[in-house]
Subunit: 283 residues, 2 copies
């Protein structure tokens, strides 16, 4: 059985992190799980996020992963500690993106960090908590931007709609010098963020930092993510054809055939294609 | 125990239907349930919609309702028949919005009906099926508009962003004469729809038709919705303060204090306020 690195996200966004990982560690095998049939997570209640994230990491461990990177900021901010308590062991590890993002921001800031993320991510204030562990003095402003992930999911990141939405959310910040893109969808809006912020503001996509820290972690723990053949498998709980087509924009290269997963009795099971019913359902 | 009419929606949108109902039948008691903590439903898989809609109608029946109007088009299109099979009886009835919308559209059209709704509503093709039962010859074009409900949820319905998004979706129609707003959020975008469609296109908000048909149904079945005192209770699975503030835009009047409901062991239970945890959750 192969031992791929599991990369878990609520949808497409984590493919931007996978892209960096494959650049940094091309010799590893990867298994990506995008819970796109239930994305976006950002407006969901905490119980639902805990439930979904349990189902997803259980599927990844069942597929042979020993190390899972939670690429989704919402899950990282709300459920990471729970997942680590419940599933972490001498054999299995779960890593997140919030601490790398906080460390990168504190390294770069001149005193005022902005953080933009989903409603749930921001409501958790986990990013603020992680920054506070590193610095007492830095100022932090967190802004929820519930419309940005849906805009990117719709493929509208290069439209005037996207620019106007980014502009409205940016108007809520005042005087930040470093702006953290705290959702894996937002790197696709990086151009809009860069154009609409003053030149002295550093717009920070945490993905390269996350990949670099994963590389360092893996050097210390090679057994969790052994050298493979550079293979990639992709699972999605949504429309697999759409996931493959749409996902290429995030990954920066074509995806392999995407395998369908769906909830069955509280678990995410591998499913034959076309199992999703349409119309009125009587069960 | 009072016997209010239950009005169920995934979020705020159904308040536009409730508004019509209270105009048409002001002497009844109403109990509104907005599942805003888990909204929008439009991108969700069918199993999840079935599960959530069961939880919501069970809560409404437990609160004393005998008649429930499913105001949400997504639930009406996907799960109504299931809910009717499972819960309908000589004592309890569940009604939807798809058939009233189809009948109103067929009455008005000169030959080509457009329907705009969520991804799941459109994928079900239930509206098309209901129109086909009434007419073999009318042409139907259905378009999914996944971004419109989130734009309204964000309160941005009067922005250029909303106009541009409506315009992009309208570009997918060709030659329709009647356009059905197949999501309870869209009446808040009615002005944009009217301005951006040619004058000969009839933009149809089904809510008044739904209310009128409920009035007629209730005349035939007075026991399911007896005369009360015109009272209104509101339940929400999301942020109740936000629901009350934000909901007034949809209802057209101030809401009473909103009561919080949350999922506990697969059921929606009434909850004390402030029970939603923040930060990293370990359970």
């Amino acid at each position: 059985m192969s031992c791929p690195v599991g990369v878990y996200d609520s949808g497409y966004g984590g493919l931007t992190v996978l892209r960096q990982l494959r650049k940094t560690l091309p010799e590893l095998d990867y298994l990506y799980l995008g819970d796109s049939g239930r994305a976006p997570y950002g407006g969901r209640d905490v119980d639902t996020i805990l439930d979904f994230s349990e189902q997803c990491v259980e599927r990844l461990f069942a597929e042979g992963c020993r190390a899972i990177l939670v690429a989704c900021h919402t899950v990282s901010c709300v459920a990471l500690r729970h997942l680590q308590h419940r599933y972490g062991s001498a054999e299995r590890r779960i890593l997140g993106v919030t601490i790398p993002a906080a460390e990168a921001a504190v390294q770069r800031t001149r005193g005022h960090i902005g953080f933009v993320g989903t409603a749930r991510t921001v409501a958790s204030h986990t990013f603020r908590t992680e920054v506070r562990k590193l610095s007492d003095s830095v100022q932090i402003t967190e802004v929820a931007a519930p419309l940005l992930a849906p805009i990117v999911e719709e493929g509208w990141e290069d439209t005037e709609i996207a620019r106007l939405a980014v502009q409205r959310y940016l108007a809520k910040f005042d005087g930040v010098d470093t702006l953290v893109l705290g959702c894996t969808h937002y790197p696709l809006l990086e151009r809009a963020f860069n154009e609409l912020t003053p030149p002295e503001v550093n717009v920070l996509n945490p993905a390269p930092e996350v990949a670099e820290r994963f590389r360092a972690w893996r050097e210390r723990h090679p057994g969790f993510a052994p050298v493979g053949t550079g293979s990639l498998r992709v699972l999605s709980s949504g429309d697999v054809t759409r996931f493959a087509t749409h996902g290429a924009r995030f990954l920066g290269e074509a995806l392999p055939a995407v395998e369908h997963i769906a909830e069955q009795n509280g678990r995410l099971a591998l499913c034959p294609e076309g199992s999703e019913p349409t119309g009125q359902v009587v069960r």
